[in-house]
């Protein structure tokens, strides 16, 4: 069994164990510079000198650039000596990860950190060659011949990974005690399992659950993976001390190399949420938001000097060396499919509130909408980035507010905006986009007592209606937001969509009673089934949209912890009562490798496949029922023998 003590962080610790009394304090190493021939050396040095001009004083012979003796070419790195150690420190801070030109990003280290170079050859070998050579196939779980999926479960101090077997007992794939000090998390495509330790984060994977990489971040509390699992952001409430002696809270890491790309201080004042008390630090995680393709990561600074700072991976340099100034910015979000930022600002003086869509890196504003009497806005992107829904809360009178939706159509000319007003007295509490789809669900409050669910569909301009006929000319031009259904949703506070779309579960969770509704949101949304998992805290779909797991976590409710597995149509498959059950997460899957054509072809031939699967299932059912029968017969035989024996003894004792 693995405990945190087994995790060897000694090499990381050694890396930072620097002799601070060294006399080389004023020397830095600059790596990642262009490799140039003899002819261009002077030119390069001049540019480098210029770059550091404002940072510190470099003596005339202060730059030493090693060159290959045979070719005379530079090696891409150089040593720079400053007049004072503070200047060297500043150089590291200011120029590290600087984009020197389109092809080169500079790394600047203190000379005293040279050990890092010696001990970390990984950074300098060809990164592409490294990951696959010795490592296990990190995606092997995808090839399960029974097309099953995995989940990780935490109960007490035990973390276990299971294969889902529908209504039969799950198969244990792997288990360890004290695997994680806090909780566990999957990376977005399921490749890695992240565990939390006092010293940092460890990622695990492959068929034997080997340690893949670790990130040293003392007292780490939160993490966030980039969409394509290239990078990870880590957060600790208590700041850690950087090699420069600064106090930082956030670090961003390269998962393949394990290297820290950059760390940030993040002042409490810059955090989301308006808690003034230091002790109850509230943060809007993730603070750093990844673009859909991992190319950028952006953060927001609120307030009068508000801005969005976009950093470019892997150098983590500020895009165009400056942040995007947006006074009083309240919230922002990336489009999930392109380099478009959305954000909103409140009313100021005579200027109305505004929702803006901006392209990156051009900073071109592609759409802006003014809104009046705004109290709050919430931004919800549809998964394909085709639509952005903005939930707008407005002051109606001095006391009452009213909510409506503004729907931006990103794929249509000039990005038209539809406005959806709810019925009198209805207030939107939450909005949930259908994944892989154009529908969304709205939970709305009607007075203090009544809750309703509404399903809407985005109908694009020029769309054909359900019967295949063209819509009227007017509809063709405009498109619409169609209300598909309104239904009572008493005791419901969550809508959890299938990752494949169309189906969703309405749940009353975390403080509600645990009522569940299974919906098929087709053209005519229908309630398929209802269920109950008393005091349910979590509802999770499997990554294929075939199963739903409801669970009661010990972290929130201390009695009747455990989980219930349902089919997506709401049929109960199994109820498991698990003492000290804390967490259950389905392992995500990357998108299928099958082409659209292949998928269509498979669907067309589904009957042939079905025959095979039916046979498999029937055989399995027979096998299971035979096993059950045999087990029972065995138990019965055993018990009868025992009873006969004791009866015999009893009789003999009586006679005696």
């Amino acid at each position: 069994d693995m405990t945190e003590e087994d995790l060897d962080f000694s090499d990381i610790e050694a890396r930072y164990a620097v002799d601070t009394n060294s006399s080389y304090d004023n020397i830095v190493i600059v790596d990642g510079a262009p490799i140039v021939g003899e002819a261009k050396v002077d030119r390069l040095l001049a540019v480098v000198r210029k770059l550091f001009k404002n940072i510190g004083e470099i003596p005339d012979d202060g730059i030493y650039m090693p060159r290959d003796e045979a070719s005379g070419q530079s090696k891409g790195f150089m040593f720079i000596e400053f007049a004072a150690p503070e200047q060297a420190a500043l150089a590291v801070k200011m120029v590290n990860n600087h984009k020197f030109d389109s092809k080169h990003t500079l790394s600047v280290f203190k000379f005293n950190d040279i050990e890092r170079f010696a001990n970390m050859p990984d950074e300098f070998v060809e990164p592409e060659a490294e990951p696959f050579v010795e490592k296990e196939h990190l995606k092997s779980w995808l090839a399960d011949d029974k097309a099953r999926d995995q989940w990780v479960m935490m109960k007490g101090d035990e973390v276990s990974i299971y294969w889902n077997n529908k209504s039969e007992q799950p198969d244990l794939a792997h288990t360890r005690t004290n695997w994680s000090d806090m909780y566990v998390a999957w990376s977005p495509k399921g490749t890695y399992l992240a565990t939390f330790h006092r010293q940092g984060i460890v990622l695990w994977g492959g068929p034997s659950w080997k340690k893949i990489v670790r990130f040293e971040h003392p007292n780490v509390k939160l993490i966030d993976f980039s969409s394509n699992e290239k990078y990870i952001t880590t957060w600790s409430h208590e700041p850690f001390t950087t090699s420069d002696g600064d106090q930082h809270r956030v670090a961003i890491w390269d998962i393949v190399t394990g290297r820290q790309l950059r760390s940030f201080p993040v002042e409490s004042s810059a955090l989301g949420g308006s808690s003034n008390q230091q002790s109850t630090l509230k943060i809007d995680w993730p603070i750093f938001k990844w673009s859909f393709d991992d190319q950028y990561v952006a953060r927001m600074t609120p307030g009068e000097n508000g801005m969005i700072s976009v950093y470019e991976t892997p150098g983590m340099g500020l895009l165009d060396k400056k942040s995007i100034k947006i006074e009083n910015i309240q919230a922002f979000a990336w489009s999930p499919s392109e380099h478009v930022l959305s954000y909103w600002i409140p009313e100021a003086g005579n200027n109305p509130a505004r929702v803006t869509l901006m392209k990156v890196p051009s900073r071109e504003i592609v759409r802006q909408k003014n809104l009046f009497n705004v109290i709050d806005c919430k931004l919800y992107w549809q998964q394909q980035g085709d639509y952005l829904a903005v939930q707008v809360e407005r002051a109606k009178t001095k006391k009452s507010t009213v909510t409506n939706l503004e729907l931006f159509r990103l794929r249509e000319k000039d990005i038209p905006v539809d406005v959806v007003e709810l019925a009198q007295g209805q207030d939107i509490t939450n909005l949930f986009w259908e994944p892989h789809g154009t529908r969304f669900a709205v939970l709305a409050q009607e007075g203090a007592q009544k809750t309703v669910i509404q399903f809407y569909q985005m109908v694009p301009a020029g769309a054909t209606d359900t019967k295949g006929k063209k819509k009227s000319a007017k509809a063709e031009q405009a498109g619409e937001v169609k209300l598909l259904k309104t239904a009572d949703a008493k005791g419901i506070n969550q809508v959890v969509w299938s990752p494949k779309g169309r189906f969703c579960v309405l749940g009353g969770v975390r403080g509600f009673q645990g009522d569940l509704q299974f919906w098929d949101v087709d053209e005519e949304p229908t309630l398929m089934n209802t269920g109950e998992h008393y005091m349910c805290t979590d509802v999770e779909w499997d990554p294929t949209g075939r199963y739903v797991m409801s669970s009661v976590s010990y972290w929130r409710v201390q009695s009747d912890t455990g989980f219930t597995l349902w089919t997506f149509t709401g049929q109960l498959l199994s109820r498991q009562s698990v003492p000290l059950f804390k967490q259950l997460l389905w392992r995500p899957r990357p998108p299928t490798l099958l082409s659209e054509e292949k998928q269509k072809e498979v669907k067309k031939k589904l009957k042939d496949y079905s025959r095979e699967f039916d046979e498999q299932d029937a055989a399995q059912t027979t096998k299971v029922s035979r096993e059950v029968l045999e087990k029972r017969l065995g138990l019965l035989r055993g018990w009868r023998e025992y009873v006969a024996r004791t009866e015999d003894e009893y009789r003999r004792e009586r006679e005696y």
């Binding site: 995606k139 011949d145 097309a147 149509t569 049929q571 490798l593 292949k598 031939k605 589904l606 496949y609």
Partner: protein, 152 residues
């Protein structure tokens, strides 16, 4: 003496007569009183009877009204149920539906709802199987691609 006797007898006779007259008058009076009482009683009885009659008539009227309302409501309910049943595509003619009372229609409706529930569940079973099989078919076809992906 004789005169005295005669006078006395006359007096006696008169006295008797007077007494008799008094008696008759008393009797008459008594009879009249009894007659009056009887009459009063009869009047009161009549009054009670009339009141009861009125009450009975009122109850009858109310019952009639209630019956009428009930009948109307039953008809309304029947119409509604019949309408709902028609909406639910029950294969029955309007005449057939019209001929049924609310109880029958309600039973029919329960029957219909149960049928729909059964139909929905069997539909869901097919749906569940279809989605499971699509996923399994995709996964089956994906396996060779995965190993190819790993080779890369």
């Amino acid at each position: 003496e004789e005169h005295k006797q005669t006078a006395q007898r006359r007096l006696l006779i008169e006295k008797k007569k007077e007494l008799r007259e008094n008696e008759v008058a008393r009797k008459e009076k008594e009879e009249q009183r009894l007659r009056q009482i009887k009459q009063q009683q009869e009047q009161e009885a009549e009054k009670v009877r009339l009141e009861e009659e009125a009450k009975r008539r009122e109850t009858d009227r109310l019952a009639q009204v209630r019956a009428e309302v009930e009948k109307q409501e039953a008809a309304k309910l029947a119409a509604q149920l019949a309408g709902e049943l028609k909406d639910r595509n029950v294969k029955m003619t309007q005449e057939e539906l019209d001929s049924m009372d609310a109880d029958k229609l309600r039973a029919l409706q329960i029957q219909q709802l149960e049928k729909e529930k059964r139909e929905l569940q069997s539909k869901l079973k097919v749906l569940g199987k279809r989605y499971d099989h699509i996923e399994r078919a995709f996964r089956k076809e994906e396996i060779p691609l995965l190993s190819a992906d790993y080779e890369e």
